[in-house]
Amino acid sequence: MSGRGLVIGTAVVLAGLAVAVAIVTHESRPPELNPGGTLTVSDALGGGGAEGYARAVEPRPFQFPEDHGPHPEFRTEWWYWTGNLETEDGRAFGYQFTLFRSALAPEAPQRQSAWGARQVYLGHFTVSDVAAGEFHASERFSRSALELAGASARPFKVWLEDWEAASVGESTWPVRLRAETDEVALELLLEPGKPPVLQGDRGLSQKGPERGNASYYYSMTRMPSRGTVRVEGRTYAVKGESWMDREWSTSALGEDQVGWDWFSLQLSDGSELMYYQLRRKDGSADRFSSGTWVPSAGAESSAPVRVSREDIQLTVLDTWKSPRSGGVYPSRWRLRVEKLGLDLTVTPRLADQELPVSVVYWEGSVGLEGTREGEPLTGQGYVELTGYADTRPRPQGRRASDSGR
Amino acid sequence: MPPSDTPPLVELRDVTKAYAEGDTVREVLSGVQLSLHRGEFVVLLGRSGSGKSTLLNLISGIDVPTRGEVRVDGRNLGSLSERERTLLRRERVGFIFQAFNLLPTLTVEENVRLPLELNGHGAAESGAKARALLERVGLRERARSFPDRLSGGEQQRVAVARALAHAPPLLLADEPTGNLDEATGRQVLDLLEGLTRQGNACALVVTHEPALVSRADRVLSMEGGRLVEREHARREAR
C-alpha cells in the first residue's frame, strides 16, 4: 500500500507545470525598460541649426507699421509687453504678456494637411497682484496653423488662440491686449506714447562676437495703458504705463553666455532706462551687455543715449532662493550710471515672480528710488532674470504647463 | 464471584426483532430475555441464520429491536439517538468479527490504536499501549505491517488486541475462530479469555468451538429465534 508513487508523480507534474508557467509568463515579459528623459515642448522650440534662416548682420531700415508684424525669415521673434498698472484707489498690478514665434524649419514642406506647420507660437502671461502678494503665471503653445496662432502687420494682430494683441480700428494704434486664464484676465488698450526706440546700433543689437549673433530690436518705452484686470473673480479698472519690446533673430546667445538680467525702468522724471547684462558661465558680465537711456519727452535732446557695460555699475544687494526650482536669483540692485548721473536702487515688488513654465525664469514688476544728478526720483519697471534655475523641469515634475485653463 | 449481586451490564427485556422480506415478515428474535454481568465469559451457540449476529447487533446498538428493551449499563438503547449509540459503542464495546476484521488502510499498530484514539487518548499514550498489547498477543514485531501481510491467525490476534485496547466492559465476538485452523483458533481464544478475565470484562462469544464451551461461565444457544440457557454447561464450568 504505497501512495508514494502518486505523491511523487503529482509533485513532479505540478513542479513541471509551474516551471512551464514561469517560462511562459517570463517569456512574455518584455525587455527591461530604461528610464529616459522627458518629452518637452521646449525641445521643439529652438532646436535645429540656423541654416536657411535670415541672420541679423548689419543695421537695416525699420519701417512701421510693417515691422510691428512678423519676420518669418528669422527663427525667433517676440512681442513683449510688460507694465505697471494701478486702480483709482492705488491698488497696484504688474503684468507681462508675451507672444513668442519660433520656427521649426526655414521652409514649410508642401503637404495636404492644413496642420502641417513650421511656426510655433508660445505665450506667457503673468499678473502680479502686489497688494495680495500673488503672482499668476501661465503658458500656452500652438502651431501656426488653422488660424490657431499667427501674426500680421496690417491690420496689426498677434494671437495665440484667444490671447491676442490687435489694432482696435483701421490704424495700428491703439492696440488692445487680451489674455485670460481661469484665475486672471487682462484687457488693456495701449496708446503708443513715445515713438519706437531702436536699440543697439540703429536697431541691430549685437549679443556676441560672432557675426550674426545679433537681433533686430526696438522698444516702445512708455505706452499709456488703461483697461481692466480680473483677479480672484473681481475685475478692477486700471491705468498705467506699458513697455513693448520687439526683437527678432536667428541666433542670439553665444557659447559662453548662460543668461541675462534685463531691466526696463520708467523713471518719474519722464525718462526710461533699458539695460541688459549678459552673464557668462563664470558669472562675469559679458562685454556685449548693453543699454539705452531715453530722455523725457520735453527734454532739449530727445536722442536716446547708448549705455555700455563700462558705463554701468550694477551691484546685487540681495538674493532670493526659489523654493520651486532651487534657483538663487538676485533680488535687489544698486544701479549707477555715472555719465547720466543716475544712482538707483531697484527692488522687486514681490519676491516670487518666477514663471514655472517650460523654461523657468524670473520676470517681475519692480519699484525704484534714487537720484538723478542729485534730484530724488522714483519709478517702476520690469526685470527679467534668466539662466538661474535649471531650465529643464525635473523628470517627475510637471512638464510644460498647459494653458492654465 | 456471584454475578447476580451487581446490576447487569447488559439486559435484554422481551426483545423481538423482525425483518420485512418482500411481503412477509420474518421474526429473527422473539421474546429474548438476557442479563450479562461483568466478569462473565459467555458462549453463544446456534446454527447459521438462527439470529446470533442480530443479537450481537442489538446489544451493540448497531440495530434496534422491533419490540422490547436493550439496556447497556442501565441505559435504554432505544431512548438514545443514533449518534449517542455510536458513542456508547465506541466507549463500551469491543468487537471481533469473523473475517475482514482489520482496516486494510492502517498498519497493525494503527489498527490497535484506533479505538484508543477514538476514545480521546493521546498519540504517545495510545502508541505505547498498542505496542504493549501487541507484545501480549505476540505480534510486537509486526506492528508496522499492513494487515494483508499477516496470516489469518495473526490477523485475529490483532483483532483481539484492538477489541480490548480501550478496555471496554463488553466484548462481542462473532465466530472469531471461524476461519482458523484448530490450533490457531485455540490460541486466539486463550488470548481472548485471558484478557477478558484479567480486565473483569464481560465477553459474549459466538462460536462452535467445543473447547470454549467447556471453559465458558455460561452457554447460551439460539434456537428458532429463542434464547436458551444450557444449565449443564454452567455447572460444568463451575
Binding site: G3, G5, L6, G9, T10, L17, A20, V21, V24, T25, S28, P30, P31, L33, N34, G36, G37, T38, L39, T40, V41, D43, A44, G48, L104, A105, R111, Q112, S113, W115, G116, A117, S142, R143, L146, L148, E161, D162, P395, R399, R405 | S53, L56, S60, I62, E82, R83, T86, L87, R89, F95, F100, N101, L103, P104, L106, L114, P115, E117, D174
Partner: protein, 845 residues
C-alpha cells in the same frame, strides 16, 4: 483519532494511483479550460481597454461627429472661444505593419502642444526629434519595444499598409515609457502629429474626435449647446463600455462552454468519489461498528475530495495559464475578425481570475462529493457485508431516481421555455437537462442491459451473458460511470452540432446574399466589418468595366445610435435590380419601395432588432452630420455577419444625411455570356496599382467568408476538443475503476479456470458494452443540448435565427469516441488481471 482516519483515506487514494491520477487530471482539465478561456478573453479585453485608455487618456468628454469624424474647423473654433475647455484634437486609425510580424498598429495623431493635459507618453520618455513631427510629413514615434520586434531603429523607415495602399513612415524617435503599464499601452501605438495622421489615414481636413476635460455638467451642457450641427458631446467612458458590451455575448458563451467542461469534470469527481465510497463499503461499515459517527464519515469523504480538489485545481490553474497562452491568439483573432482591432502581446494574469478558478475547482469538487459523502455516512455499521443486498438497494432505487430525473428534466424544460430573454434561466435549464438525464441513466441501463444479455449471450456464450449481467448487477458503479460518460460525450455532441448548424445557416445565408459575380474591396483590418475606402474615382472606373451588366456599391460606416457606435451600410441600388436580402420582418414586396421613396427609412439586421428591441414601425435615432434624426425601421433582414447588429439604407439616403462620400466595396453583375474569370482579370487591370484591392469572384468571396466564419469558431472547436479530452479521461477513469474494483471477482474467475485471453475478452466486452451504452445515451442528450444551444442560448445571446442541422458525422464521432475510450480503458485492467496471481488478488481485502 482524525489523524488515523486521514491517514487511512490517503492510503486508500494512494492505493489506487491510476484512478486517483485520472480524477486529478479530470479536475485539472476542467479547471484549466475554464481558467484559460477566462484569462484569454480577459487578456484580449484588457489589452483593448489599455490601448483605449492610452488613446483616450484623461479626457472626460469627447466631441464626435457623424460617420466620417468631424471637421477640423470645429476644433479651431473651440480653441478660439473665450471660455474654451481644455481640449486636444485626435485623428485615430489603424494600419498594418508591412514588416516583421505584420502586426496591426493604432495610429494616434495628436497635437503635441495640446497633449499635456490628456496623455502621459511624455512621462519618462526619451524622444528623438519632436520638431520633425510637425514639419516633416510621415514622421512618427514608435514604442521602443515595437521597434525592436519589428527590427526598426530610430530614424529608420516603417512601411505600413493602409486600406491596401502601402505608405512609408519615418520613425523620428522611440517611446520608452518608464512604467510597465504605459509601456504596454503604447506597444501597438504609432504616435504622430495630426497632420501626418490625416495624410496617412486619408482623413485630411477631418478629426476623429476632440478630447476634452470638462469640470462639471454645467460646462458640458453649455458646450453641447454651442457645438455645431452634426457634432455631439459624449462621455469618454462610453467607448470602453461599448466594447465591453459588444463582446459580452461572445464572452458569456465562451465562458458557458468552458463551464460545460467543468461540469464534465464534476461528473468525473463524482464518479471517483462514489467509487471510492462503494469500494470501501465494508471498511466504512466496520468503522461505523467500531464507533465512528456518521458526521465523521461524511467529513472524511469530503476531506478526501477536498485534497483531490486542491491538488487538481492547482494543477488546473497552472495548466490553464499554459493553455491560455495558446488560446489568447485565437481569442484575439476572433475579436479582430468580429469586433475591433486589438493586438495582444501578453497574458494578463488577473489574480481575480485565478482565485475564481480556485474557488470554482474546489467548489465543484466538494459539490460533486456531497452525494458520495452522504452515501458513506449512511453506511450501516454491519459486521458482515453482502454485496448483493447493496445492489438490490441500488436497483430498487433506480426507478425512483428515474422519476426524480424526469422531474428535473421537466423543471429544466420549464426554465428553457420560460418566456424571457435572460440567459441565466437558459443556462439553468441546460444544466438541469444534463442532471435530469444523468438521473435517468441507472434505470435505463438496467432495462437495457437485461435486454442486451440475450443477444450478447447468443453471440459470446456464457461470457457474453456475464458481461451483460455484470453491468446490471453492479449497477451502483456502472450507472455512475455511464452517467459521467454520457454527459461528457453529449457535451461534445451538443457543441459540435451547434457549430455545424451555425455554419449551415451561414452557408445558406451567403448563398442568398452573395448574388453578384465580382466583389471588390480594399483589405480591411476587421474581417467581418470592412470600412476601408476605395481610392476616390476608382469606383466609377470599376463599375464601368466592359462586360458589367449591373452593379452596386457598399459603404460600411460607423454611426451612433443613441450614442452607441453601430455599423451602417449604405448601398447604391440604382444600377441593379438585385436585392439580395431576406426579411424576418417586413414585406419584401413593399420594403424596397418604401426604403427608396422615403429619405428617413432604414432596415436593421436581426441582431440589431434583437439587442435594441426595435421592430418594424419603430424608429431609431441616428446622429447624422445634419444633427440627430429619427429613422423609421421598415424591415428586419437576416444577417449573420455581425452579432452586434447593423443598419442598412440606400446610398441616396446616406448622402443626404452624411457628408462621407467614401465607398467600401463594389459588387459587379456580369452581363449574360460574360466569363466571370475574364471579368475579374479586366477589373484587376482597370484597378491598376493605385490600391491593393481584393477582387473576388462570387465563389472565392463565399470561400473567404466561410474561412472567416470558421476562424471565429476555432476557439469553440478548441473548447470542444478540450471537452472531448475531459470526456476521454472520464471514460477511461470510470471504466478502469470499474474493472479494477472487480479484481477479486475476476481473480475468482481466473482461479476457476478462465484463461488470460478469455479474461481479456470478458473485460473488453464489459467495457465495450458500457462504452456503447454511453455513446448511445449521449446521442439524444447531445441533440437536446444542441437544440438548447442553438434555439435558446444562441438566440438569447445574439438574436440569431439558426436552423438546427444534425450532422451524422458528429453523432458517429461521439459513439466512436465512447467506444475507443472504453476499449482503451479495458486494456490496463485486463492486462493487470491476466498477469496477476489470482491467489494474491483473492487475499486482497
Amino acid at each position: 483519532m482524525r489523524r488515523l482516519l486521514v491517514r487511512s483515506s490517503l492510503r486508500h487514494l494512494g492505493g489506487h494511483p491510476w484512478l486517483t491520477a485520472l480524477s486529478l487530471l479530470g479536475i485539472a482539465l476542467g479547471v484549466a479550460v475554464v481558467v484559460s478561456i477566462d484569462l484569454a478573453s480577459g487578456s484580449a479585453l484588457r489589452a483593448f481597454e489599455r490601448s483605449t485608455d492610452a488613446v483616450a487618456g484623461r479626457a472626460t468628454h469627447q466631441v464626435v461627429g457623424g460617420s466620417s469624424g468631424l471637421d477640423e474647423r470645429v476644433y479651431r473654433d473651440l480653441r478660439l472661444r473665450r471660455d474654451a475647455p481644455v481640449s486636444a484634437p485626435v485623428v485615430e486609425g489603424h494600419v498594418q505593419a508591412a514588416v516583421g510580424d505584420r502586426r496591426t498598429l493604432t495610429v494616434l495623431g495628436v497635437d503635441p502642444f495640446a497633449e499635456a493635459p490628456f496623455r502621459d507618453y511624455a512621462k519618462g520618455e526619451a524622444v528623438g526629434d519632436v520638431g520633425a513631427l510637425l514639419t516633416e510629413p510621415g514622421t512618427v514615434l514608435l514604442s521602443a519595444r515595437a521597434a525592436q520586434s519589428l527590427g526598426i531603429t530610430s530614424g529608420g523607415e516603417l512601411p505600413v499598409r493602409v486600406e491596401g495602399v502601402e505608405k512609408r513612415l519615418r520613425v523620428a524617435g522611440l517611446l520608452t515609457p518608464s512604467d510597465e503599464d504605459t509601456a504596454r499601452a503604447v506597444e501597438a501605438l504609432v504616435l504622430t502629429d495630426v497632420s501626418t495622421a490625416q495624410e496617412v489615414l486619408g482623413q485630411v481636413g477631418r478629426l476623429t474626435r476632440v478630447d476634452l476635460r470638462i469640470r462639471d455638467e454645467a460646462e458640458a451642457q453649455r458646450l453641447q449647446a454651442a457645438l455645431p450641427t452634426g457634432t455631439e458631446l459624449v462621455r469618454a467612458s462610453a467607448r470602453a463600455g461599448t466594447v465591453e458590451q459588444m463582446t459580452r455575448a461572445f464572452r458569456t458563451n465562451l465562458t458557458a462552454l468552458s463551464l460545460l467542461a467543468l461540469v464534465v469534470g464534476m461528473f468525473l469527481i463524482y464518479n471517483t468519489m462514489t467509487f471510492s465510497v462503494v469500494q470501501r463499503r465494508g471498511l466504512l461499515g466496520r468503522l461505523r461498528a467500531v464507533g465512528i459517527t456518521r458526521g465523521e464519515l461524511f467529513a472524511l469523504v469530503l476531506g478526501e475530495a477536498a485534497v483531490l480538489g486542491a491538488v487538481g485545481t492547482v494543477a488546473g490553474l497552472l495548466l490553464g495559464v499554459l493553455l491560455a497562452r495558446g488560446l489568447v491568439g485565437l481569442v484575439t483573432q476572433t475579436f479582430n475578425d468580429l469586433y475591433f482591432v486589438v493586438s495582444v502581446r501578453a497574458l494578463a494574469l488577473e489574480p481575480f481570475t485565478l482565485a475564481k478558478g480556485l474557488v470554482l475547482g474546489l467548489g465543484a469538487t466538494l459539490v460533486a462529493a456531497l452525494v458520495p459523502a452522504w452515501e458513506a455516512a449512511r453506511s450501516a455499521p454491519v459486521t458482515t457485508m453482502r454485496r448483493s443486498t447493496l445492489e438490490d438497494v441500488s436497483r430498487s432505487r433506480a426507478p425512483r431516481l428515474a422519476v426524480l430525473g424526469l422531474v428535473v428534466l421537466a423543471a429544466g424544460t420549464g426554465m428553457l421555455t420560460w418566456p424571457t430573454q435572460a440567459l441565466l434561466p437558459a443556462y439553468g435549464g441546460l444544466f438541469s437537462v444534463l442532471l435530469g438525464s444523468a438521473l435517468l441513466v441507472p434505470w435505463v441501463t438496467e432495462r437495457l442491459s437485461s435486454v442486451a444479455a440475450l443477444p450478447l449471450g447468443s453471440t459470446f456464450g456464457l461470457l457474453g451473458r456475464m458481461a451483460a449481467r455484470s453491468v446490471r448487477t453492479s449497477l451502483s458503479r456502472t450507472a455512475v460511470a455511464l452517467a459521467a460518460l454520457m454527459v461528457a460525450v453529449a457535451t461534445t455532441v451538443g457543441v459540435g452540432l451547434m457549430v455545424s448548424s451555425f455554419r449551415g445557416t451561414v452557408v445558406s445565408w451567403l448563398d442568398t446574399s452573395l448574388q453578384a459575380d465580382v466583389f471588390i474591396s480594399p483589405p480591411s483590418l476587421v474581417a467581418r466589418r470592412g470600412g476601408a475606402t476605395l481610392v476616390p474615382g476608382l469606383e466609377e472606373r470599376l463599375r464601368s468595366t466592359p462586360g458589367v451588366a449591373a452593379s452596386s456599391t457598399l459603404r460600411v460606416a460607423s454611426a451612433r445610435v443613441d450614442g452607441v457606435p453601430t455599423d451602417l451600410l449604405a448601398i447604391d441600388f440604382t444600377r441593379t435590380q438585385a436585392r439580395p436580402y431576406r426579411f424576418k420582418e417586413g414585406n419584401p414586396e413593399t420594403v424596397w419601395r418604401e426604403l427608396e421613396s422615403s429619405p428617413d427609412a432604414l432596415l436593421v439586421s436581426e441582431p440589431f432588432s434583437f439587442h435594441r428591441r426595435v421592430r418594424v414601425g419603430d424608429t431609431v435615432r441616428l446622429t447624422t452630420d445634419r444633427g440627430p434624426h429619427d429613422f423609421r425601421v421598415v424591415g428586419v433582414y437576416f444577417d449573420y455577419g455581425s452579432d452586434v447588429g447593423t443598419m442598412l439604407m440606400p446610398r441616396t439616403t446616406y448622402e443626404r444625411w452624411f457628408d462621407d462620400r467614401g465607398v467600401s466595396g463594389v459588387a459587379l453583375y456580369a452581363a449574360p455570356g460574360q466569363d466571370v474569370d475574364a471579368l475579374v482579370a479586366s477589373v484587376r487591370e482597370r484597378a491598376g496599382d493605385s490600391q491593393a484591392l481584393l477582387v473576388r469572384a462570387n465563389r472565392s468571396l463565399r470561400q473567404a467568408s466561410l474561412e472567416v466564419f470558421d476562424r471565429t469558431f476555432t476557439i469553440t472547436q478548441v473548447l470542444r476538443l478540450l471537452a472531448i479530452g475531459v470526456a476521454f479521461v472520464g471514460v477511461l477513469s470510470a471504466l478502469m475503476s470499474l474493472q479494477l474494483e472487480r479484481a477479486r471477482e475476476l481473480a475468482v474467475l481466473r482461479a476457476t479456470g478462465l484463461t488470460p485471453g478469455q479474461l481479456w475478452g470478458l473485460v473488453s466486452l464489459q467495457t465495450g458494452l458500457l462504452g456503447l451504452l454511453a455513446g448511445l445515451f449521449s446521442v439524444p442528450l447531445g441533440m437536446a443540448l444542441a437544440y438548447v444551444l442553438v434555439h435558446v442560448i444562441n438566440q438569447r445571446s445574439f438574436g440569431w435565427t439558426l436552423r438546427l442541422a444534425v450532422s451524422p458525422e458528429t453523432l458517429v464521432q461521439a459513439v466512436l469516441l465512447a467506444l475507443v475510450a472504453s476499449a482503451l480503458a479495458g486494456l490496463y485492467p485486463a492486462w493487470k488481471m491476466a498477469r496477476a496471481n489470482p491467489a494474491l488478488a483473492l487475499r486482497e481485502e
